[in-house]
Amino acid sequence: MTDTAVHGHDSSTGISNIKLGMWTFLGSECLLFGGLISTYMLYRGRVTGGPRPAQIFDIPFTSVSSFVLLMSSLTMVLAVSAAHKNEHRKTNLWLTVTALLGATFVGGQVYEFTAFYNEGLGFSTSLFGSSFYTLTGFHGVHVTVGIIMLMSLVGIFKRSAVPGKKAEVVEMIGLYWHFVDIVWIIIFTLVYLIPV
C-alpha cells in the first residue's frame, strides 16, 4: 500500500462509498414519506368543505400514470444495465426514455391537480386537500428532481465521457428513481385504491 497513491477518502472495505451513502439516504427518506403518508392517513376523511376523496379521484387515469411510472423503472434498470456493459448509446437512450416517462407522469399529475382544483379542491379547502397536495406534491417534486438529474446525465455524457465512474453514477440515479417509484406504489394503494 505504501507505494501507491492513497486517497484520503477511499473505502477500505471494497463497498462503494457513494452507494452506501445512497442507501443510507433512502433509509432516511422512508421516514420522510412515512410522515407525510401518516399525516394524509390521519386527515384523509376530514373534509369540512369541498369534495371528498372518492368524489374526485379518477382511478382509471391515475392507474395509467402509475403504470407509466412503473414502466419507467424498467427503462431505468435497462439503462443501468447498459451502462455496466459500457453501451453508451443504449445508456443514453434508456435514460432519455426514463426521463420522458417520468415527465409523462408529472404531466399527468399536473393535469390531475388542475382537474381537482377545478372540482373545488384547493390547497386550503380542507385537511384532505392540504394533506393530499402535500403528499403527492412532495412525490412529484422528487420525480421532477429525478428527471432533471436524468437529463443532466444525458447532457453530460453527450459532451464528455465521464471516465470510469459512469456506470456507478447511472446506478445511483437509478436507485433514487426506483425509490421514487416504490413510494408511488404505496401512495397509489393507500391514497387512491383504499376508499374513504
Binding site: L36, S130, I148
Partner: protein, 662 residues
C-alpha cells in the same frame, strides 16, 4: 506521566496538494489564510470550525439564559417584557439544542471519528464542508429574526396551534422553521457521511467491536439523526405550509387535531435528546478508562446499551404528552417504555463506575468533568424516571421540576461531557495543553454553579412553579424563609456563578493559545488511535494507516501484560511508536482538494430561505444559483488528476502549520 518530547529527525512524509486549479470552473488551491478555511474540505478544519461556531452560540444561548434568570430573580421581574421573554426562552432552547450541542457534537465527530478509526478523511469531504456551512448559515439566519421583526416565540417545541399564523403573526416562527430546515439538511448530510465513513473506512483489522467507544456512540447518534431529522422536516413543512401557503394542518376549524404536531415533534424530539447526550457518553467512556488506566468495563455492554438506548428511544416519545389527553391505554404503554429506557442508561452509569473500580485514578480536569457527569447525569436521569410514572408526571409536567430534569441531563450530561472532551483532546487539536489549575477552578465553579442554578428548580417545580412564565407572583410563592422567592434568587445567583466558570474556560483558552509550550505527544497516556498522530495531526492524519489488533490499539502498542503480576509493563513510548510510523510513511498521499462549491451551495440555500420569507423573486434567484452550483459540484472531480500533484517535499510540515494557524 511526564513524557519528554523527543526531537525526531526522520523524513517527514508529505501530503501532496494540487498546485494548479482545474474543473469546469477554477478550483481553489490549498492556500494559507482565510481561503484555507473557507474552501477547506479537511475534516479536522471543519471540526474546528463546527466547534468554534458552537462555542459562539453557547455564549449567545448562555447570555439569553442569564437574561431569563435576571428576569426571574425576583417577583414581577421587569428586565424583559412578556413578548421578549417568550422569544428569549424559545431562542435560548433553540440555540442551545440546535446551535450549540448538536454542532459541537458534529465538530467532535468530524475531528475524531476519522482519527479514531484510522482513516485519512471522511467519505464525502465536500458534503462535509457543505454541512458545516449550512449549519453556520442556519444559525445566523435564525438569529437574524431578532433584528427583523422579532424572534420565534412559541417555545422550543412550538406547539400548534399557538405557532400558527394567527397566534404568532411575526416572522419569527418562519425564520425558526426555515432555519431548522437548513440545520436539518446539515445534520442529515453529516449523518450519512459519518455512517458511511464508519462503516466503510475503518483501518484494517478494526472490526466493529474494536472500534473506540466514542466512535460507537457517535455512530448511534448519526443513525438517530438519520431517522429523526426527516420527521421534524415533515413537521416543519406542515407548519410552514400552514403559515405561508394557507394549508390547514393545525387549523381546528377545519377539523385538525393539534396533537398531530405534538406527535411529530416528539417522535423527533425524544430521539433528539439522546442525540444530545450520547456524544457526551462517548467522551466519558473514552476519558474514564484513560485516567483509570483500565479498559472500559464491559465494552460490549456499553456498546449494546448505547444501541439499545438509540432503539428504545423511538418508542417513548409520548411521555412528553402525558397530560395531552392520549387516553389511558397509550399513556400506560408509553409510561412503560419510558421506564424501560432507564435500564440501558443505567448500564452505562454502572459500567463507568466499575471502570474506575480497581483502577489507578488520575484526576485531571478531563477526569473531573467525567466524574461530574456520572453523578449529575444520574440525578437528571432519576428525575426522568419520576416523570415516567405518568400520574406523577401530570403533577410535574410544565413545571420547573421538568426544567430541572432536562438541565441536569443536558448540562450535567451533554455540557460536562463536552468540557471533559475539551480538556482531554485540546492537546490533540491544538498541540497545547489547557492549564490544569485554571481547569480545576473552571470545573468547580461550573459544578457548583450548575447545582445552584438547577438544583433549586426541583424544589420550585414541586412547589408548583410552572415554567415559561415571564413573571412569577408572590401571591403563589408560599411563606417561610425558603419560599419560592428564595429559591428563585439562589437559582439566579447560581447562573452567574456558572457564567464565571465558563468564562474561566474561555480565559484558559486564551492563556493556552499564548503559551508557547507545546504539548507532549501523548500527554494522558491514552488508549485509542487518534493518539497515533502528531499534535495536531498532519493533514493526512496518519503517516501509515495502522493495522489494528486490539480494542485500545494505541495502549497495546505501548504496554504488555506482565505474565506474573498481571499488571501492565511499558514496552514502547509514544515517541518511539510515532517515529516508527514516520519511518514507514506512505510516500504519496492524495488528500481531497479544496472546493468552492460547498459554501456556494450552502449560500444559495440561505438565499432561498430568505426569499421564502421576503420575496419569491429572491427565492428564485437562489434556486437558479443552487442549480448551477450543483452542476459545478457534480462536474468537479473529487480529487485532482495525478498530473496536478507535485511533491512539495522541500517544505516539510506544511500541513502542520496550516492547522496550527488557528
Amino acid at each position: 506521566m511526564a513524557i519528554i518530547e523527543r526531537e525526531t529527525e526522520v523524513v517527514v512524509p508529505v501530503t501532496v496538494t494540487p498546485t494548479s486549479t482545474y474543473g469546469v470552473l477554477k478550483r481553489p488551491v490549498s492556500a494559507t489564510g482565510w481561503r484555507a478555511w473557507v474552501f477547506t474540505v479537511d475534516h479536522k478544519k471543519l471540526g474546528l470550525m463546527y466547534g468554534a461556531t458552537a462555542m459562539f452560540f453557547f455564549i449567545v444561548g448562555g447570555v439569553e439564559a442569564l437574561l431569563i434568570r435576571l428576569q426571574l430573580a425576583a417577583p414581577n421581574g421587569k428586565v424583559l417584557n412578556a413578548d421578549l421573554y417568550n422569544q428569549m426562552f424559545t431562542m435560548h432552547a433553540t440555540t442551545m439544542v440546535f446551535l450549540f450541542v448538536m454542532p459541537m457534537a458534529a465538530g467532535l465527530a468530524n475531528y475524531f471519528i476519522p482519527l479514531q478509526i484510522g482513516a485519512r478523511d471522511v467519505a464525502f469531504p465536500r458534503i462535509n464542508a457543505l454541512g458545516f456551512w449550512l449549519l453556520l448559515f442556519a444559525g445566523i439566519f435564525i438569529n437574524l429574526s431578532w433584528f427583523l421583526g422579532g424572534a420565534a416565540d412559541g417555545g422550543w417545541f412550538m406547539y400548534a396551534p399557538n405557532s400558527g399564523p394567527v397566534f404568532s403573526p411575526t416572522n419569527g416562527i418562519d425564520f425558526w422553521a426555515f432555519g431548522l430546515q437548513i440545520a436539518g439538511i446539515a445534520s442529515l448530510t453529516g449523518a450519512i457521511n459519518l455512517i458511511v465513513t464508519v462503516l466503510n473506512m475503518r483501518a484494517p483489522g478494526m472490526t466493529l467491536m474494536k472500534m473506540p467507544i466514542f466512535t460507537w456512540m457517535m455512530t448511534v447518534v448519526q443513525f438517530l439523526l438519520l431517522f429523526a431529522v426527516p420527521v421534524i422536516t415533515v413537521a416543519l413543512f406542515l407548519l410552514s405550509f400552514q403559515r405561508n401557503f394557507g394549508a390547514r394542518f393545525f387549523d381546528v376549524a377545519a377539523g385538525a387535531d393539534p396533537l398531530l404536531w405534538q406527535h411529530l415533534f416528539w417522535i423527533f424530539g425524544h430521539p433528539e435528546v439522546y442525540i444530545l447526550v450520547l456524544p457526551a457518553f462517548g467522551i466519558v467512556s473514552e476519558v474514564l478508562p484513560v485516567f483509570s488506566r483500565k479498559p472500559l468495563f464491559g465494552y460490549p455492554f456499553v456498546v449494546f446499551s448505547g444501541a439499545a438506548i438509540g432503539f428504545v428511544g423511538w418508542g417513548v416519545w409520548a411521555h412528553h404528552m402525558f397530560a395531552s389527553g392520549l387516553g389511558p391505554v397509550s399513556v400506560a404503554v408509553f409510561s412503560l417504555t419510558t421506564m424501560a429506557i432507564a435500564v440501558p442508561t443505567g448500564v452505562k452509569i454502572i459500567n463507568w463506575t466499575l471502570t474506575m473500580w480497581g483502577g489507578k485514578l488520575y484526576f485531571s480536569t478531563a477526569m473531573k468533568f467525567s466524574i461530574g457527569l456520572i453523578v449529575l447525569f444520574t440525578v437528571g436521569g432519576l428525575s426522568g424516571v419520576t416523570h415516567s410514572v405518568a400520574p406523577s408526571d401530570t403533577q410535574q409536567t410544565d413545571t420547573y421540576y421538568i426544567v430541572a430534569h432536562f438541565h441536569y441531563v443536558l448540562f450535567g450530561g451533554a455540557v460536562l461531557g463536552f468540557f471533559s472532551g475539551f480538556y482531554y483532546w485540546w492537546p490533540k487539536m491544538f498541540g497545547k495543553m489547557l492549564n490544569e489549575r485554571l481547569g480545576g477552578w473552571n470545573f468547580w465553579l461550573m459544578v457548583i454553579g450548575m447545582n445552584m442554578t438547577f438544583g433549586p428548580m426541583h424544589i420550585l417545580g414541586l412547589q408548583g412553579q410552572p415554567r415559561r412564565m415571564y413573571q412569577w407572583t408572590e401571591a403563589r410563592a408560599g411563606e417561610g424563609f425558603f419560599n419560592l422567592a428564595f429559591w428563585n434568587m439562589i437559582a439566579s445567583i447560581g447562573s452567574f456563578v456558572l457564567a464565571v466558570g465558563i468564562l474561566l474556560f474561555l480565559i484558559n483558552v486564551v492563556i493556552t493559545a499564548r503559551n508557547p509550550t507545546r504539548a507532549p505527544l501523548d500527554p494522558w497516556n491514552s488508549r485509542s488511535l487518534e493518539w497515533l498522530t502528531s499534535n495536531p495531526p498532519k493533514e493526512h492524519n496518519f503517516d501509515v494507516i495502522p493495522t489494528v489488533h486490539h480494542l485500545d490499539e494505541f495502549f497495546h502498542r505501548k504496554y504488555e501484560e506482565d505474565p506474573e503480576s498481571h499488571t501492565m509493563r511499558q514496552i514502547a513510548t509514544a515517541e518511539e511508536i510515532m517515529a516508527e510510523q514516520e519511518r514507514n510513511a506512505d510516500k504519496h498521499i492524495h488528500m481531497p482538494s479544496p472546493s468552492y462549491w460547498p459554501i456556494v451551495v450552502a449560500f444559495s440555500v440561505l438565499v432561498i430561505t430568505f426569499g421564502m420569507i421576503f420575496s419569491y423573486l429572491i427565492a428564485a434567484i437562489g434556486g437558479v444559483t443552487l442549480l448551477f452550483a450543483s452542476f459545478g459540484w457534480a462536474l468537479e472531480p473529487s480529487t485532482a488528476p495525478e498530473s496536478d500533484f507535485e511533491s512539495n517535499s522541500s517544505t516539510p510540515g506544511t500541513a502542520l502549520d496550516s492547522v496550527g494557524n488557528s
